[in-house]
């Protein structure tokens, strides 16, 4: 009886030590699933999902508080990727949040800009350059097309334009669509 108690106690102690050591030694910083979800999200930081950026939305998804279909810029591809990652059924995009649009780019009409800095404050990725009472401009390479700068502009000088493909970013068309067109055309 006594040996059994001693043996179990010793075993419990050793295993406890091992587990304790492991929890310190192999501690995972942050929540990897949040990071993984965040990686899939398009990082437009547009807030159309009703969260203040992509990371808060990723955290909410990880906590199981919201659906995975609230990201219009990511569209179908993002929903599919999230569904694959979380092993759930993909759903159509929640229309409450918006519709999937082609990639956009903010362009400031520099002649009309009064230099109020409101758009600079609104830009979530610091992609607008300018100073008070000086003309502002959008750094095209950094703009995520979130449209957050359009609303605050008091003189309505920011336009969202569709990004045009150039020979570098151009993609070969999907041949199965071409087949389909031929089939429906003939």
């Amino acid at each position: 009886m006594l040996t059994a108690i001693i043996a179990i106690t010793l075993l419990a102690l050793t295993l406890g030590l091992v587990l304790g050591f492991a929890s310190i030694r192999f501690k995972v910083q942050g929540d990897p699933i949040v990071d993984q979800i965040d990686k899939i999200l398009p990082q437009t930081q547009c807030g159309q999902c009703s969260f203040a950026g992509c990371r808060p939305y990723a955290e909410a998804i990880a906590a199981g508080e919201v659906d995975i279909n609230r990201c219009p810029p990511g569209g179908e591809a993002t929903i599919q990727a999230l569904a694959d990652l979380l092993d759930v059924e993909p759903k159509p995009l929640d229309e409450e949040c918006g519709v999937e649009k082609p990639k956009m780019l903010a362009v400031i009409d520099e002649a009309r800009c009064i230099g109020c800095t409101l758009c600079i404050q609104a830009c979530p990725v610091d992609a607008i350059l300018g100073a008070a009472k000086h003309m502002h401009t959008v750094i095209a390479n950094e703009c995520t097309g979130c449209e957050l700068c359009v609303e605050p502009c008091p003189v309505d000088c920011i336009d969202m334009v569709e990004t045009q493909p150039n020979p570098h970013t151009w993609r070969w068309p999907d041949p199965s669509h071409v087949d389909l067109q031929r089939r429906t055309g003939s």
Binding site: Q45, E142, P167, W170, W172, P175
Partner: protein, 509 residues
């Protein structure tokens, strides 16, 4: 021939159709009224213009400089006036426009001063590479990779073999064949310089056995250069795609270039004979790359042949010079029937990578509706890269791009052998091109979103820091205010007590 040849898997025996364009010598295309020069005619960063509209330029004058490492300069192909710098249609499968410099030629064709180097061995390899870069030389086989980079062995590699790829395996194309027949000496000039720059120990000139005239011409030219003892001509069997870089290396040296590696990793550097010729002209004659030999051929061309054409020459001018039965705006093929792409539009210029303009292909089957894949495996049998095209097709079609990568999609050289043999007429290469550009686009997007995330995070950090600083300042101000208030109160207190003391003493008095 010293060593027995190797072999590559798959491949096809194709009808050559080369005779049509090899009947006459290389002819010069007349100078067009207008030359349109895309700033990007090579892999890497586009060149940056250094001229302005209205500037007069001479033939061979530099009009755009290299921007960044992987880039080369661009030169005026003839004398004239710059009339425009801006977007113009370019010969690209997308049909899109890109920045171009337009020159209105004056017909005088007056050269700029040319710096000729008589003895290149007096110069360092680095200097020679710089001249080759400044001369705007890129691989003329079709890819257009800046040649000076491929002439730099670097510190980590040593180059054993310089391989000159004169296989020219694709049907119809004969520009390298004609160049080797007519300008063998010029090619060997370039080979000498390349050997010197690479410090390579030997050179192999590989030519397919369907070009006996080119083989004879090169042999003859080589026989008069006793100091080129380390150079040999290797005749390889005619089979498509022997001219693929990795395939030719396998045939000639029996070595395989590993996936994601370059030939230089196994001590081999491969150049096109046209590039070697251009290197010779640049160093020994001081002439930058301003023209190339272009094959114009096809069933609808009356006077097919090879034409030394200035870059920027409108393709329609070249076609008019050869007389074709083509209707305006009818599509034609740039490159060969296997790997080329269809272009439409009459305003496209000849660029550094335009090796062939093909108008009308023999015994072409009418476009048929692709049938379902029956898994016959013919495509896998002919694939020179030992891939499984049928699997790649399924995954590309299903947009399962991770799987296409696992099946080594990026080892596909888009030779078109699988398309050629497919009994269901599935456009396999179109699917692979689609998948490749989709994957590259996804990667670009991922990179961009990583950047956006970083910027957003640093912005949040900055906002928080600013808020903290503000709070800190407010706290300090409040503390300072409280301190002054306290000091004032103390002062008042002391005055009060003093007054009280005074009154007490007064009372006492």
């Amino acid at each position: 021939m010293s060593a027995p040849l190797g072999d590559f898997p798959g491949g096809l025996k194709l009808p050559g159709h080369k005779k049509r364009s090899t009947q006459g010598p290389i002819r010069k295309t007349p100078i067009s009224k207008q030359l349109v020069l895309p700033l990007q005619q090579h892999i890497g960063a586009a060149a940056g213009p250094i001229v302005e509209v209205g500037d007069k330029v001479l033939k061979g004058q530099r009009i755009a400089r290299a921007e960044g490492h992987v880039s080369v300069c661009l030169h005026a192909p003839s004398s004239g006036v710059i009339t425009a710098i801006g977007d113009h249609a370019i010969p690209h499968p997308s049909g899109l426009s890109a920045p171009c410099i337009t020159i209105e030629t004056d017909g005088e064709d007056r050269w700029i001063d040319r710096q000729q180097i008589k003895d290149f061995r007096q110069h360092s390899a680095h200097e020679l590479r710089q001249i080759i870069r400044d001369a705007g030389i890129v691989g003329l086989g079709g890819a257009g990779f800046p040649s000076f980079i491929k002439l730099n062995p670097g510190v980590h590699h040593s180059v054993e073999t310089l391989l000159i790829n004169g296989a020219e395996c694709e049907p119809y194309i004969s520009c390298d064949d004609m160049l080797m027949r007519e300008r063998a000496d010029g090619i060997l000039d370039g080979v000498e310089i390349m050997l010197f720059a690479l410090r390579a120990s030997r050179c192999i000139l590989a030519i397919e056995d369907n070009k006996p005239e080119a083989i004879a011409a090169m042999r003859y030219a080589l026989s008069s250069r006793s100091h080129l003892s380390q150079t040999e001509i290797v005749v390889v069997p005619t089979r498509y795609p022997t001219g693929g870089e990795k395939q030719l290396i396998q045939v000639v040296t029996k070595k395989q270039v590993p996936t994601n590696k370059l030939p230089i990793d196994i001590g081999i550097v491969c150049h096109n004979p046209g590039t070697a010729y251009a290197v010779g002209r640049a160093i020994l004659h001081g002439e930058p790359l301003i023209s190339r030999v272009v094959t114009v051929t096809g069933t609808d061309v009356t006077h097919a042949g090879n034409f030394e054409t200035l870059f920027g020459t409108p393709i329609k001018d070249l076609l008019a010079f050869c007389e074709t039965r083509r209707q305006p705006d009818e599509p034609f093929i740039q490159g060969g029937p296997m790997m080329g792409y269809s272009l439409a539009g009459d305003d496209l210029p000849i660029t550094k990578t335009a090796n062939c303009i093909l108008v009308g292909v023999d015994d072409v089957a009418p476009p048929a509706q692709p049938l379902p894949c029956i898994r016959c495996g013919d495509c896998a049998d002919v694939c020179p890269a030992s891939l499984l095209p049928q699997q790649l097709y399924w995954y590309s079609r299903a947009k399962d791009f991770d799987q296409t990568r696992d099946y080594n999609l990026f080892d596909c050289i888009e030779c078109g052998c699988c398309d050629y043999v497919c009994p269901s007429k599935i456009p396999l290469v179109s699917y692979f091109r689609f998948a490749k550009t989709e994957i590259m686009n996804q990667e670009r997007e991922r990179h961009k979103s990583d950047l956006a995330r970083q910027r957003h995070e640093s912005r949040l950090e900055r906002l928080e820091r600013e808020a903290q600083e503000k709070e800190e300042r407010q706290r300090q101000r409040k503390a300072a205010l409280a301190a002054t208030k306290a000091a004032k109160a103390k002062e008042e207190d002391s005055i009060n007590t003093a007054e009280a003391a005074d009154s007490v003493t007064e009372e006492k008095a």
